[in-house]
């Protein structure tokens, strides 16, 4: 049951966070950056050992600093878009570094797993960055109010039902009845 709920939540069928804007996604990516960066900086040897990247500690720590900087920048910035694009660039560096280390590593399975995870995160970063940039373009202009564009000659309530079909549905377009066709079902 828990499993089903978890999946359903993940699939967004069931309510979760109410703010679904790209900005909010960016914020989550920012926290992710900070957390990952902190781990890399605190324990680069763990990453190096897991991936079997001998002597890779300084690079991993440096990447951690980069992650933290991008994450903090992202969380502090008024406009997160450039920082999310920064994450995309960072992802590219990660991918190159992992691919470089692949052949010398004796734990290629782990490296592959890491490559896959970074690729997935890259996709999310890219989608987020693109959406933020598009949203920014739109934010530059004040959205017009179209309250006068009714398209109807009279008030909505006076127009309601002027074309009601009253059961005279065109071929093949009748639906399961709740009430209106209830009588017909028996005939």
């Amino acid at each position: 049951m828990l499993m089903i709920k978890a999946v359903a939540r993940a699939m967004d069928y069931i309510p979760s966070s109410s703010d679904k804007s790209a900005r909010n996604l960016a914020r989550r990516l920012g926290w992710f950056s900070v957390a990952l960066g902190a781990l890399q900086l605190a324990a680069p040897h763990r990453f190096a050992r897991a991936l079997d990247f001998r002597g890779g500690e300084p690079v991993i720590a440096a990447f951690g600093v980069r992650e933290i900087a991008t994450g903090v920048g992202l969380l502090a910035a008024r406009d997160p878009a450039p920082f999310v694009w920064g994450r995309v660039a960072g992802d590219a560096l990660d991918l190159v570094a992992l691919a470089n280390g692949f052949f010398d590593s004796r734990r290629r399975g782990v490296v592959l797993l890491a490559l896959g995870s970074v690729a997935a995160v890259t996709a999310v970063d890219l989608i987020c960055a693109q959406t933020l940039s598009a949203d920014n373009k739109r934010r530059d202009d004040t959205p017009p109010d179209y309250a006068d564009r009714t398209g109807l000659p009279k008030a909505v309530d006076q127009m309601r039902g002027v074309a009601a079909m009253n059961g005279q549905m065109p071929r093949g377009m009748r639906a399961v009845p709740w009430n209106a066709h209830a009588g017909e079902a028996r005939t």
Binding site: L25, L126, R149, M159, A163, A175
Partner: protein
Amino acid sequence: MKALCWEGVSDIRYQTVPDPKIEHGRDAIVKVSSTAICGSDLHLFNGFIPGMEAGDVIGHEFMGEVMEVGKDNKKLKVGDRVVVPFTICCGECEQCLSSNFSVCERSNRNKGLAEKVFGHSPAGLFGYTHLTGGYPGGQAEYVRVPYADVAPIKVPSSLTDDQVLFLSDIFPTGWQAAVQCDIQPTDTVAVWGAGPVGQFCIRSAVLLGAKKIVAIDRLDDRLSMAKAGGADEIINFEKEDVFERLKDLTDGNGPEKCIDAVGLEAHATASFDSVIDRAKQALMLESDRPHVLRQMIMACRPAGVLSVPGVYGGFIDHMPMGAFMNKALTMRTGQTHVSRWSDDLLRRIEEGQIDPSFVITHKVSLEEGPEMYKTFREKSHGCVKVVMQPGGVN
């Protein structure tokens, strides 16, 4: 002549192409006076529908003056002012005779290709991929109209281009989407997407007598237009939980009728499944992003109807089929059978029940088309519907 051509993803160009010629006795050549950009064109612009080739003339919402008619065409005369429905139909096959014009069995001249992808072929469409005939489209100075003695709608001079142009597609599309919901006076109708199609769904649902209409989008300008046209409630899906709000608005039952006026490019970041879909789409693991379909299936009241005018092109993952089946839902879909509604809707415009020009926010010359594709895609500058006029706006 000049036309807008698809040259690749995000690449539409205003360029010179050969003038169209009569190829068959029932054809006509139409000189375009007004043509519009549709959400369906954006799917081509963004590269999500297969079967486009560089140089294809795009556009399927257009009207104008008849310049030439083929020798067998008894319906049209030179000088007639016509709106041309985007679905091409022969008027004689079994489907046309059953008014299922968008699945005409003869108008797609690339049937074999379509059969490979869809099992059976739908009708030919203007300016919409080689899967549906590869017919040069209407964002051009002139168009060859095949089977021009069937679908083109003669319009009276008392009505302006802006009032009748949308008989070509989005007005009948919104209308059919609402009609196939079989709206009852007790129904709540939820409409996903407040783009041009969604706007016409909302107004159609009003005319057809829905009790309550809910519009769902994230763009405030579009939601304000939805409200103006009869949406009793609006939901901003970036700020609120759609499923919960719909429940609250319907005493916990869910809306009886749900309309998907979004299609295969559901907004990419507003939900976890949308992000995944977008990533899979980029990797070509999935062709369409079906977030709205999933959400409709979950939100709809059991035994309700899902009406899907939104365009899908290929394959989707993770459909909650269990919910769809166990809730006894009905789904109705299709490119619009435009000719089925033409006379009725023209009459409603003439009688003043609706003035479709409300939706136009941008009017430009055809030459500015490539720029407008970007504006419409970004939905910037309050862009809802773009109308273009070859030779400049008059």
